[in-house]
């Protein structure tokens, strides 16, 4: 069955094919066309960590394709009684055809995939991976730039705990991107990820200075410094608010440059950027619907017609 745990589960060709399928599903995602391709199927939405966009976009994606959704969170379920992930997954395996899982422990998605037969989509495991976010990020980048090849991308903020940046950087180097990794020293991308990136990619630069790369970037990907991943408030306080992107920073930026953010934002991406032509983050959030539709169809073995009516 077709799990999606990390971006390594997809070839470059499969990524492009999925983006094309997501493009065809746009009218369905917007609610302009009803195409019950997943009628009769049940999605188990398993969120053991907070979520707004990911949970809701998976739910919308499933429902707009005619399917049903079961929601599980830690509160109000037997997980609060100490039930193991393994046992929880046995129940989900019986109650649904496919499951999406977000969990605070790294490795939880792969573990779930090993535990059951139904396909598992990783919606974020600890500070590990977030491949469905990467798919919607790539969709957004391709929409803006026409192509994914050879772009100059700046990733800013929490690169240590930021699972969106881990998954996205893995994918981008496979399409020949030049990456600038901007973070405070304590939040640098983990060394094993940087070494994987350097083994596969062209140019990877690590720096603490955000301003130097703005004017040459094709994509500036801002991320929140995640308080919830820090062991204590003092460590968080040292780096909170260290990067702030404002509209005035973008005066000399390329016209085609886009600013992205997986959201939620705190103070690293000022509201003044929202009204600039560069801001793509809200559209990025919506793009979660067509891309997750494409991923659900893929994992359930459902073909999406060339023309969806």
């Amino acid at each position: 069955m077709a799990d999606l745990i990390t971006m390594d589960d997809l070839t470059n060709e499969e990524i492009i094919e999925l983006l094309d399928i997501a493009q065809r599903l746009l009218p369905v995602a917007k609610g302009d066309v009803y195409a019950p391709l997943l009628q009769g199927k049940v999605l188990g939405n398993l969120f053991f960590e907070n979520s707004t966009r990911t949970r809701m976009s998976f739910e919308t994606a499933m429902k707009r394709l005619g399917g049903e959704v079961l929601n599980l969170s830690s509160i109000g379920s037997s997980v609060a009684k100490g039930e193991t992930l393994y046992d929880t997954m046995q129940m989900v395996n019986g109650y649904s055809d496919i499951a999406v899982i977000r969990h605070p422990r790294q490795g939880a998605a792969q573990y779930s995939a090993d535990a059951v037969e139904i396909p598992i989509l990783n919606a974020g495991d600890g500070a590990g991976n977030h491949p469905t976010q990467t798919m919607l990020d790539l969709f957004t980048i391709r929409e803006a730039h026409g192509d994914l090849e050879g772009l100059n991308v700046m990733l800013v903020g929490d690169l240590r705990f930021g699972r969106t940046t881990h998954s996205l950087s893995h994918a981008l180097v496979r399409f020949g991107a030049t990456l600038t990794l901007v973070s405070p020293k304590s939040l640098q991308m983990p060394a094993e990820i940087v070494s994987d990136l350097r083994a596969n990619g062209k140019d990877i630069t690590e720096t603490e200075d955000m301003s130097a790369g703005i004017n040459s970037a094709d994509v500036i990907y801002m991320t929140r410094i995640q308080k919830e991943r820090f062991p204590d408030d003092d460590e968080y306080a040292k780096v909170a608010g260290i990067y702030k992107l404002t509209a005035s920073d973008l005066g000399e930026a390329k016209g085609s440059m886009i600013v992205m953010h997986p959201l939620p934002r705190v103070n690293e991406l000022c509201a003044s950027v929202d009204s600039t032509k560069h801001a793509k983050y809200f559209e990025q959030a919506f793009n979660g619907v067509p891309t997750r539709m494409a991923l659900l169809c893929r994992s359930l073995g459902i073909k999406v017609p060339k023309k969806v009516t």
């Binding site: 193991t84 393994y86 790294q106 490795g107 939880a108 792969q110 600890g126």
Partner: protein, 152 residues
Amino acid sequence: MRRVTAICNGTAIDHIPSGHALQLLKMLRLDVGRSNPISLVMNVPSGKMGRKDVLKIEDRELNQEELDRLALIAPKASVAIIRNYAVAEKRRIDLGEELVNIARCSFSNCITQNPNEPLPHKLRVISADPLEIRCAYCNREQDIDEIADYIL
């Protein structure tokens, strides 16, 4: 100069990377609470390696599962099963592609930290030389020097 005498029956492990014999004993769980006579030399000259350690464990023939654990620290070690003062068998140490229930992941936030989770602990061998091992679930790289602390 012969530093270690021949043993009658047991297992001889030669060409252990210099300084790692004690770690090997720990991994084999022979470091405490056992009565097998064990001879050990460390940092002795070796034509092949420059310096090496050697272990001889009497009255115990290590099985393949135990040898697989050795492969984490001494993948190029030579293992001989001794019977009646002669080499009866030579055993290969083969790291393989995956170590199942040999050692647990060292990452504190890995899903496998919960001892109640029943699926096997799995470490993947990404490369044998240089040795790189990652948890099959969380993909964190394991510190080879500390892996003996996580033996199951």
